[in-house]
């Protein structure tokens, strides 16, 4: 029996399936007709199926928003895995949490599709690109609309596949193909743990019907022993560290920048990498039963936030800086869900989707103008040539740095306030991370847009602002990067935290639950985070505008520290030594000693025995009829003798 939590009102509707179906139709169109109908048709169909899905999502969102609190729209499509007592349904649901997610996925997704129309226009794999991008949208929508854990896992793997396909989109370059493989393999490590977590959950539920729906998991989770819940949630979190690029499985995300820039914006900043945060928020009922797991999540999140930020300080590739910044910001989201502030985590997910997609698309515009150059040391002074990109990038940078008034400020502040209440140590880490974020983002901004242009004459002659189709998404995202924050103001301001109130029925424990810090403290915390943000910006200004020689002097003075950061803490080298090389060597040994010697030996040996036997036996086959006649006669006589002799 499907048990329903008291606060939840389920309403069965029939339009939800259109949301993933529309992009799915787009995928089929691009695969089967894309190359035949030409680029114009692909350019129209690719973004418009996502736009249509956005409109349906908007309808679903409004229904949830205006409906009674705790309204869940549900559509059961078919019984997917009816095996014994297991009956997993292919069912979609939209509650407050999913409603926010589908709006982000289709809304930001649409803008990025639109941007891609120009960005990828001259690519020979144009139709293939849009097929992958639409397929990604389908998988991501299934992930966030799934009403049970197994269907979520289908979407989870689907987005991983699309990520792999799009990172290696330009597969004729070996480095890109390797980056795709790295992303896929690192994700496999996490997903193996995720699967084990699902199995363990199934096993510990014992006999009885299993729909694996989230409400059933929440219901039955309470009957499990704390040890089991802790184990399961930790295993699921390992899956999340893979998908959402957290310590220790973050290593694939910087390499994933090998893909086209709009892909980095959509998959590796705005949507897919936030799947882990979504998963934990979705299973908040289970995580709340396991305080140890929540502590682990929060600690890993805070450590990742600072760790990735320090690497971001010295990177020189515009997309790599943004990649480490994404890892760092995801760390904040995990810190939020780890301290039980699920709505704050989702709020940061929302604002981050806006400003990080904006920053990535802005960097795409810069790279486009620079003719493919990604090294920020060769940029500078682009403000004059790319006014729209400059203005929107500035908005994005202010938002991520946490400057008051911009979206990132409100969401980050909400996380920091909750972190301070729950775990002051982690709050300290997160505050350091916020300062670092402000510094490296403004370093990037100053180096790219201000100062003297360091590009060569040829590149400079070709500098141009990107066409409308690319700048419109930038402007829309810039607007969202400002106003997006005002849905979740601090409690004491204007209309307060509407966002958490909206999410409360879906993720429980709204901001009010965990002993809200009182006004003076909250203002003080806010002052602290504003202070570190402004300090970071000031230092970046001093280093890269006022006294540009300072960074080199510092790097020379703290040579070892600089080398450590420059080489990204040697984590890739460490993993290569600890895991990759031993496994490759083991594979080599297995290949030579087992595969070639034992397996091939057995197969070839069987063939050899047959061959030798045949070589010996074929002497009897002389081909001479009379020899056969003789053996017939001899045989007959022997049989005759035997039967006669026996009497």
């Amino acid at each position: 029996m499907h048990e329903v939590q008291p606060a939840v009102v389920v309403e069965n509707v029939t339009f939800l399936w259109w949301i993933p179906l529309l992009p799915a139709l787009g995928v089929l169109f691009h695969i089967f007709l894309g190359r035949r109908v030409g680029k114009t048709a692909v350019s129209v169909v690719g973004p418009s199926v996502v736009a249509a899905a956005f409109i349906v999502s908007l309808v679903a969102f409004i229904r949830v928003w205006l409906g009674p609190p705790g309204l869940v729209l549900q559509q059961v499509l078919w019984s997917w895995l009816p095996v014994g007592s297991l009956d997993v349904r292919f069912a979609l649901q939209v509650d407050a949490l999913s409603a926010v997610m589908i709006l982000v996925v289709t809304g930001v997704g649409f803008l990025i599709h639109l941007y891609s129309v120009v960005y990828m226009h001259d690519d020979p794999g144009y139709a293939r690109y849009f097929a992958y991008l639409n397929l990604f949208t389908v998988a991501m929508l299934v992930l966030v609309m799934a009403d049970n854990l197994l269907l979520l896992f289908v979407g989870w793997e689907g987005v991983g596949l699309c990520s792999y396909l799009l990172i290696g989109f330009w597969y004729d370059n070996d480095a890109n193909a390797s980056a795709g493989k790295k992303a896929f393999i690192v994700n496999r490590v996490g997903d193996a743990a995720f699967l084990v977590g699902i199995f363990w959950l199934f096993w510990s539920f014992g006999p009885g019907s299993h729909t694996f729906s989230f409400s059933e998991i929440a219901e039955r989770g309470r009957q499990l022993s704390p040890a089991v819940v802790t184990g399961v949630t930790l295993l699921l979190f390992v899956g999340a560290t893979g998908k959402s690029a957290q310590l220790p499985l973050y290593v694939w995300l910087p390499d994933a920048m090998a893909g086209p820039t709009p892909v980095s914006a959509l998959i590796h900043a705005a949507t897919m990498v936030t799947a882990g945060v979504y998963m934990i928020a979705r299973l908040h009922a289970l995580y709340e039963l396991a305080p140890i797991s929540l502590d682990v999540v929060a600690t890993v999140g805070a450590l990742t936030a600072v760790f990735a930020a320090t690497i971001g300080l010295v990177q020189t590739d515009i997309k790599k800086v943004l990649a480490y910044s994404t890892i760092s910001q995801l760390g904040y989201m995990f810190l939020a869900v780890g301290v039980g502030a699920f709505s704050a985590g989702i709020f940061h997910l929302l604002t981050h989707a806006f400003f990080k997609a904006l920053l990535f698309l802005g960097s795409g515009s810069v790279i486009h103008a620079m003719g493919g150059e990604q090294d920020i040391r060769k940029m500078g002074g682009l403000r004059r040539y790319l006014p729209v990109t400059y203005a929107t990038f500035l908005v994005g940078t202010l938002a991520i740095a946490g400057v008051p008034g911009f979206a990132g400020f409100f969401s980050k502040d909400m996380i920091l306030a909750r972190a301070y209440a729950e775990a002051p140590m982690l709050w300290g880490l997160a505050l350091v991370g916020a300062g670092l974020t402000a510094f490296y983002m403004f370093r990037l901004f100053f180096l790219v847009f201000l100062g003297e242009c360091r590009a060569d004459a040829h590149t400079r002659a070709h500098l141009h602002e990107s066409p409308r189709t690319m700048t419109i998404p930038l402007v829309v995202l810039a607007v969202l990067s400002v106003v997006g924050g005002y849905v979740g103001l601090p409690e004491f301001l204007a209309w307060g935290d509407r966002f958490s109130a909206f999410l409360a029925p879906a993720v429980g424990g709204s901001a009010h639950a965990g002993g809200h810090p009182h006004l003076a403290l909250e203002v003080a915390l806010m002052g602290a985070s504003v202070f570190v943000a402004l300090a970071g910006i000031a230092v970046a200004y001093r280093f890269y505008i006022q006294a540009p020689q300072t960074p080199q002097q510092l790097a020379a003075r703290w040579r070892r520290a600089y080398q450590l950061l420059w080489n990204k803490y040697y984590v890739d080298e460490l993993y290569a030594a600890l895991f990759v090389r031993p496994i490759v060597q083991l594979a080599h040994v297995l290949w030579r000693q087992f595969d070639v010697a034992v397996v091939d030996g057995a197969v070839n040996g069987a063939g050899g025995v047959v061959q030798e036997t045949g070589r010996w036996l074929r002497r009897w086959q002389t081909g001479n009829v009379q020899h056969y006649a003789l053996s017939l006669l001899v045989g007959t006589l022997l049989l005759l003798g035997y039967f006669l002799g026996r009497g």
């Binding site: 074929r618 086959q621 002389t622 081909g623 001479n624 009829v625 009379q626 006649a629 003789l630 006669l633």
Partner: protein
């Protein structure tokens, strides 16, 4: 009137059969081999008839007619094969007809 005992026919049949079998085994000319096979068949026919007479039953005689019919058909097919072999290879020597040998 003295009748020839059945055992004499049997002995004659064995002799003819042995001659035929040896002919099949030792001669290399396909036509001769073929004739030797006919000899074996007729040796068997003789034994059939002899036993039929001794038993005062018609079964053996009927069987002989069958054997003769089959032998006629076999002779036609066999000779045709030998003719075809000769046309292709210009020999009817069994040792030289070895195309399918390994």
């Amino acid at each position: 009137m003295t009748t020839v005992p059945a055992s004499w026919y049997v002995v004659l049949g064995i002799l003819l059969f042995t001659i035929g079998a040896l002919g099949v085994l030792v001669r290399r000319n396909l036509i001769i081999v073929f004739m030797a096979i006919e000899l074996m068949l007729n040796a068997v026919n003789l034994v059939f008839v002899a036993f039929a007479r001794q038993q005062q039953a018609m079964d053996g005689q009927v069987m002989v007619f069958f054997v003769m019919t089959v032998a006629a058909a076999e002779a036609a097919v066999g000779l045709a094969i030998i003719l075809a072999v000769f046309r292709n290879r210009e020999t009817v020597n069994a040792d030289e007809v070895n195309l399918l040998r390994w």
